[in-house]
């Protein structure tokens, strides 16, 4: 017996977007989430870029629980005590539809799941799906313990560290029982409360305007590679770090010294960041894994009776300065729903019938982004980016700009001299310059 046309596991932006598109087309979809309420397991740094959601909710920017639209973008290099920060204002970002919005995932994801329900999907919260039902090489439903729900197609939208993908051998590397630390980053996050008026004065924002800052951290001990982020919400701040899991030194002494939660403190206590956090009161702390499989290590995206979307599919993109995932999640959810609708016309849900999803992905900006930036890890994991450039840039500018009573050096030679002082030789600099093609 079929309980629905489609079962979607996970009500994040990917799963809910798929459910909305399906329900809008009269499909009987069940959307299942292990959180109660929906959204209570969901966390991210918190900026949604782009306008993919307009495909299914045209006025989402007016209706969704959003925080502030981004008008000010900062990109910075922090060394031990110094900072060089590029501060960008793009006036067009004031215009509707705005380029990006800061948001908090618990209320946002709850709203999006509510939109799915409103469109006609059944939303089940507080249910942890532990297994897919597999019969004759086909996925035909889901299981929680001994309870079953059946549908011709299951959409896996479980997020990072997906248990179902491991359990059913759908990852890049069949047979593995856990993911590789070289393919993951951990994001840690604190939310601080601060009066909206103080936020607007401190960050020079008008009402509803927001700031999104990303920083390369050159002040973290023992070669750990980490970036920091700082976003303004209505009356809160989202502050945290993202750490490459494979950059923790592999010895007991370091592990007992350099825990991920201390990296957050190194970011927050940097003099440039500390003053932005003055009087802000912590109200929540959390963490999330960020997949970074890249184009060459994507897991299966479809098969007999199933489709994979969002983080579970590996659609998280990072180039060291931005990390995007919510937009790809929404887009992949919509494309999977469309692929299902086409398969439904044929009334056939085999891998070949669902392979439409793959061709839609290939044509979309999702695959184009990942393909174009397939070698981006050469930069994002380049130790120089963290442990040489921030200090060399800061020391170079400081030397040029500090009046010492000595004759000044020229800007570029002085910065280059500081690169050499920080231990870079010309060959490694030239190699890095070549790698920047991948950015």
């Amino acid at each position: 017996m079929q309980n629905a046309d489609v079962i979607i596991v996970g009500a994040g932006p990917a799963g809910s977007s798929a459910a909305i598109r399906l329900a809008q087309n009269g499909i009987n979809a069940i959307l299942i989430d292990r959180g109660m309420p929906v959204g209570s397991k969901n966390l991210s740094g918190g900026v949604l870029w782009g306008n993919d959601l307009a495909e299914i909710i045209p006025n989402w920017q007016e209706e969704a629980p959003l925080e502030r639209y981004i008008i000010n973008k900062k990109v910075g290099f922090l060394s031990h005590e110094d900072a060089t920060v590029i501060d960008m204002h793009f006036d067009e970002w004031n215009n509707f539809p705005n380029a990006g919005w800061s948001l908090l995932r618990a209320p946002f994801d709850e709203w999006l799941a509510f939109k799915a329900q409103e469109a006609g999907a059944s939303v089940l919260s507080g249910i942890n799906i532990t297994e897919l039902i597999e019969e004759d090489g086909k996925i035909v439903g889901v299981k929680q313990g001994n309870e079953e729900l059946r549908a011709p197609v299951v959409i896996i939208a479980e997020g990072a560290n997906s248990r179902l993908m491991l359990k059913h051998d759908l990852t890049y590397d069949p047979g593995k029982t856990r993911y590789d630390h070289s393919d993951y980053m951990i994001g840690l996050k604190e939310v601080f409360e601060l009066d909206s008026q103080i936020i607007e004065e401190r960050f020079m924002l008008d009402e509803n305007q927001g700031m999104a800052g990303e920083f390369i951290l050159g002040n973290i001990p023992d070669g750990i590679k980490s970036g920091g982020y700082f976003y303004t919400n209505k009356n809160t701040l989202s502050v945290g770090v993202v750490i490459h899991l494979d950059s923790f030194p592999q010895n007991q002494e370091s592990s007992n010294q350099n825990q991920s939660y201390k990296i957050v403190e190194y970011f927050k206590k940097h003099p440039y960041i500390a003053r932005l956090l003055k009087d802000a009161k912590p109200i929540e702390y959390g963490a999330k894994l960020i997949p970074e499989y890249g184009y060459n290590k994507f897991p299966k995206h479809y098969g007999n009776g199933f489709l994979v979307i969002g983080d579970a599919a590996g659609f998280t993109f990072s180039n060291g300065l931005v990390i995007q995932g919510i937009n790809y999640a929404i887009k992949s959810g919509i494309l999977a729903a469309d692929a299902f609708l086409e398969a439904k016309i044929r009334n056939e849900f085999t891998a070949s019938s669902l392979s439409n999803y793959q061709s839609k992905l290939t044509k979309s900006y999702i695959y184009k982004d990942f393909k174009k930036f397939r070698n981006v890890k050469k930069i994002t994991k380049n130790p120089n980016l963290f442990h040489l450039y921030p200090s060399a840039i800061n020391n170079g500018f400081k030397e040029v700009l500090t009046e010492t009573g000595e004759p000044k050096g020229n800007l570029l030679p002085t910065i280059l001299k500081n690169f050499r002082k920080s231990g870079a030789n010309l060959i490694s600099l030239a190699k890095d310059a070549l790698n920047f093609r991948n950015l």
Binding site: R34, G35, M36, G39, S40, K41, N42, L43, S44, H80, E81, L104, R105, A106, P107, F108, D109, S125, G126, I127, N128, T130, Q144, A160, N161, R163, R178, Y179, D180, H181, Y184, I186, L188, E190, V191, T236, L245, F248, Q250, N251, Q252, S254, S255, N256, N258, Q259, S260, Y261, K262, E265, Y266, K269, P271, P282, I283, E284, Y285, G286, A287, L289
Partner: protein, 113 residues
């Protein structure tokens, strides 16, 4: 740079490092909400006998809420403060950590997210 500034900047760096070394993460996570399941339903189990021979203890480095601690030659684990990120599952290549999601409705409950 004058000697005085150098001394001052070293002093600041040292004081930041000392504050961070002394921090108690357990104070910080007090603001986050949980609905904790009973011990027999713990969603992560650890076999500490394996951990003594582990060369790296990367679970300790990765865990954002200090669920792992190495005390007196023993790995001590508690699941209650877990935010279900999954980092220990990825970091442990010794076969000590067994990881699942908590039962439906249980575990961390983000209000902000």
């Amino acid at each position: 740079m004058s000697t005085a500034t150098i001394e001052k900047s070293n002093f600041i760096k040292k004081s930041i490092k000392e504050t961070i070394e002394k921090m108690d993460i357990k104070n910080k996570i007090g603001v986050t909400q949980w609905d904790t399941d009973s011990h027999e339903n713990a969603h992560i189990t650890v076999d500490p006998s394996i951990c003594n021979d582990c060369p790296h203890h990367l679970c300790i480095a990765g865990c954002p809420t200090q669920c792992f601690k190495f005390y007196d030659g023993n790995m001590v684990f508690q699941y209650e403060d877990c935010v279900e990120c999954g980092t220990c599952d990825i970091m442990c290549d010794q076969g000590s950590v067994s990881w699942t999601n908590p039962r439906g409705t249980y575990g961390v409950k983000y209000v902000q997210g």
